[in-house]
């Protein structure tokens, strides 16, 4: 059996990380957590998470940035808000998960091999370019980049979509997509530096 140290030292912490997350929209009450675990209990996906939502809050508050950004928890969060509405301290846990996702995206700090952030990235790219999402194209692109075998094994789904006339291959787009892209670029600049 291999032994590994689990102890964490000051060098493992990123000073100011917790405060920076708490300063992001909807995350103000982060500091009030009493570690009761209601969030983890309420979360329908916590059974697959390597850190429970409660533990993520503890990691963020303790400035353990690396651990908080590299866990699969924030990516398994499906934004169902079950935790947020059950939190006895009224902490915006879902918003904290969003803040951590934004942080992990901008620093590309998400765990390797996790495909969920890749979908988010492709989603954003399609919106910026076209203004709308064409679901079948998005999904195909996603599978091609992450797991082309899965794309092939989903042939039955594809056939069914064709059968029910929902396999839209033509890219949807808005008329003012250039204007929208300019708008988003403008908003992005305003947001620069906001990420911890």
């Amino acid at each position: 059996m291999e032994l590994g140290q689990k102890i964490k030292c000051e060098a493992d912490r990123t000073a100011g990380f917790g405060k920076a997350i708490a300063a992001m929209p909807g995350c103000e009450r982060l500091g009030s957590c009493i570690q009761c675990g209601a969030c983890s209990g309420a979360c329908p996906l916590s059974i697959y998470m390597d850190q429970s939502p409660r533990q993520v809050i503890a990691l963020v508050r303790g400035d353990f940035k690396k651990q908080a950004l590299s866990c699969n928890t924030i990516w398994l969060c499906s934004s169902c808000y079950a935790c947020t509405v059950q939190c006895p301290r009224e902490i915006g846990i879902t918003d904290i998960m969003y803040a951590l996702k934004q942080c992990a995206m901008s620093e590309r700090a998400y765990p390797a091999g996790l495909s969920i952030p890749i979908l988010a990235r492709q989603f954003v790219r399609m919106v910026v370019r076209r203004g709308r999402i064409t679901e079948t194209r998005l999904v195909m692109r996603f599978f091609l980049q992450t797991n082309w075998k899965a794309a092939i094994s989903s042939w039955r789904l594809g056939l069914n979509l064709i059968r029910t006339r929902r396999f839209g291959i033509r890219q949807q787009h808005i008329k003012q997509h250039l204007e929208l892209a300019a708008m988003l670029a403008q908003a992005k600049n305003a947001n620069a530096g906001g990420s911890p």
Partner: protein, 663 residues
């Protein structure tokens, strides 16, 4: 400002340790005050309220022939009395003194040292100019009525009433329910000693009934309170019981004879888990042991068409009086103890726990009745299906420590649940799990009780339960209630199948606490609990002199704490009564006779009925013994012919000028 050359003022500014001096430059304030007209001595000192501080004032009065004193320190509520005494010790009239509050009004609410110091100086300037106009006054002494009213007949009210009665005072004990006993009467056992609740409560309830100094009015409510400390007039509404409690012996023959052969109305004492008739005795140990008739359910009282078999059964005793009417009784008391208790959190407000949806989800108080030998099942714990439970879970902090409902800790639920957990384990052998956020067992013998629970095999899982459902995901969950919770110490989420879920519901202020607060002119905390005068130094007094609080109406607490508080409230009332009288602030209003036009407008405005009309002289007259110095008549008099001691127009104007001068 008065040009009177003879004004010789002494000024003192207190550091109050670091409380004031950290924010206000006290030396600078003293230096500033020394430049003001009439100031002969100006000093700063660490603790003015200490003996050396007071001695300083006395010495200076003698040495510098001072005839006015100003102290800038804390709130007059705390130490005005102290400094007035010090002034009197120096041979001056104690009202030739003015106090400035630079702690609560300045140091504690500001951070900027320069600005706070400037504010202190402005307030000091105002006081020094005002005090020059002060006149010598005499405090009057008002008598105290020796009788006491205790509102609420739970354990706190019972204990307070007995303590006062044993000290020889006459006590009126008013209780809303048909019997005294409160929540404690519903309990099976009490922690941490596990002694039978009824065995320790019933003797006290009987003692109340038989005590010659206690007038017990159950089924009654306080409707109105007038007057002031030492002299309250209270109106009590006695609801119609339809049974004369002095004639009824509690033989229950009327109940047996009732035309309703089978009890069919939910019994509130057993929380609807058993039934009662329209005529009933609330519970076996009820005091008074007398029947009550529910007018909404009695056929005779509702329709006038009943055979009145109850009256027949009572026969010659003639205790039943179906013509009884509600009564309003007026009593005089000198002090009031409020012990109106709490209400339990309504578990339906947290739908995730399934209360009201799943029959085997119940509250701690319901379980308490189910395990009580006088309860609906005679103490046998059964599920709604009739089977005994094999796996029982307690969910703590239901309606406590939760910002969505009540943010406070209800303090008793941890211990209460552990007690019930032990009882359930002893009686049924069921597996018992307590789901908690933090175990709070800080009382004497409480930690040991926690240990005893652990020793008995009660399981403890640290985690706030997220949901109770009947959705089974595996065969072992079928037909069970499944709890979903993170075991925060083990670090993973668990699904726990149970067949009985007990919700440890927290405590809330009574639904009508605000009304009670208005009747007694008390204050409430933001949460709705009655507010004590000082959280540490005056825990059972209120901001209304002569009104005291005890038990859970002040905040959640257990039986030992409620009784301790009740004893303290009784002692405070005794101290008040046995002092023989109270000094009254001479801040009374007076009529400048020659100017009064006799318009009578002040008479109806006076909230204390202190003003009458002298028909012969055609002028208003103020009775200083009744005047509380509220100033309403002074401000409203159209001819400006009412003055008020300590608040003369000139004094107030000088105070304003003092501030404006500084600015």
């Amino acid at each position: 400002m008065s040009n009177d050359e003879s004004i010789r003022t002494g000024f003192y500014v207190c550091h109050c340790g670091h409380n004031i001096s950290d924010v206000v430059d006290c030396t600078a304030v003293a230096r500033y005050a020394s430049t003001l007209a009439g100031v002969m001595v100006s000093r700063d000192y660490k603790y003015m309220c200490s003996s050396p501080g007071q001695e300083l004032i006395r010495q200076d009065i003698l040495e510098h022939k001072l005839n006015r004193v100003v102290v800038a320190s804390c709130s007059p509520l705390l130490h005005e009395h102290t400094f007035r005494n010090a002034v009197a010790a120096g041979g001056l009239n104690p009202f030739l003194f003015q106090m400035v509050n630079i702690r609560e009004h300045d140091a504690w609410v500001h951070a900027d040292r320069a600005a706070a110091t400037a504010k202190a100086q402005a307030l000091v300037s105002a006081a020094i100019r005002r005090v020059a106009l002060h006149k010598p006054l005499q405090a009057t002494r008002a008598p105290i009525h020796p009788d006491v009213l205790v509102v609420g007949g739970g354990i706190a009210g019972i204990h307070a009433a007995l303590t006062l009665a044993n000290a020889g005072k006459k006590v009126y004990l008013v209780e809303r329910q048909p019997s005294i006993g409160g929540h404690m009467a519903q309990f099976d056992k009490t922690f941490p000693t596990l002694d039978c609740a009824a065995c320790i409560l019933t003797p006290k309830m009987s003692a109340v009934r038989s005590h010659k100094n206690i007038v017990l009015w159950t089924y009654s409510e306080v409707a109105k309170v007038d007057g002031y400390v030492g002299n309250y007039t209270v109106t009590v509404r006695r609801k119609a019981r339809y049974v004369d409690e002095n004639l009824c012996v509690g033989c229950q023959e009327c109940i047996d004879a009732c035309v309703f052969k089978v009890p069919k109305f939910p019994d509130p004492f057993n929380l609807g888990m058993s039934m009662q008739k329209p005529i009933y005795i609330p519970f076996p140990q009820a005091v008074p042991q007398a029947a009550v008739i529910d007018p909404d359910r009695c056929i005779q009282l509702k329709t006038g068409k009943c055979k009145k078999t109850c009256v027949e059964a009572c026969a010659d005793r003639k205790a039943i009086n179906l013509n009884q009417k509600e009564q309003l009784l007026e009593i005089k008391v000198g002090s009031i103890i409020t012990a109106t208790g709490f209400k339990l959190f309504d578990a339906k407000r947290l739908p995730e726990y399934g209360y009201g949806r799943y029959p085997d989800v119940m509250t701690t108080i319901e379980l308490e009745r189910l395990v009580s030998s006088s309860g609906p099942t005679g103490g046998e714990l059964r599920l709604r299906s009739g089977k005994p439970p094999t796996a029982v879970g307690f969910i703590l902090c239901v309606g406590s420590r939760d910002m969505r409902t009540n943010r406070w800790c209800s303090r008793t639920c941890c211990m209460h649940s552990m007690k019930l957990a032990q009882i359930v384990r002893e009686r049924t052998g069921a597996q018992v799990t307590v789901f908690y956020i933090d175990i709070r067992a800080p009382g004497k013998g409480y930690e040991e009780f926690y240990d005893r629970s652990l020793q008995q095999g009660v399981q403890f899982v640290r985690g706030r339960v997220a949901e109770v459902s009947d959705c089974a995901l595996s065969p072992d969950e079928a037909g069970k209630l499944v709890i979903r919770v993170e075991d925060t110490l083990a670090g993973f989420v668990r699904r726990v199948p149970l067949d009985l879920v007990v919700l440890a519901v927290g405590m809330e202020p009574q639904a009508d606490a605000q009304e009670m607060r208005r009747i007694l002119n008390m204050s409430c905390s933001a949460e709705g609990w009655f507010l004590e005068k000082h959280p540490k130094m005056a825990p059972v007094s209120t901001f209304t002199d002569g009104v005291f609080i005890a038990g859970c109406c002040q905040g959640p607490k257990d039986i030992p704490d409620s009784i301790a508080q009740a004893g303290a409230a009784a002692a405070e009332a005794l101290a008040l009564i046995d002092a023989g009288g109270i000094d009254q602030e001479p801040n009374t209003a007076y009529i400048r006779g020659e100017e009064c036009s006799g318009c009578k407008s002040c008479i109806s405005l006076c909230p204390y009925a202190a003003i009458s009309f002298d028909a012969e002289k055609q002028k208003a007259v103020i009775n200083p013994a009744l005047c509380k110095g509220c100033g309403t008549c002074v401000a409203s008099c159209p001819s400006g012919s009412i003055g008020q001691n300590l608040f003369e127009d000139q004094e107030v104007f000088e105070e304003i000028n003092g501030v404006l001068d500084y600015v």
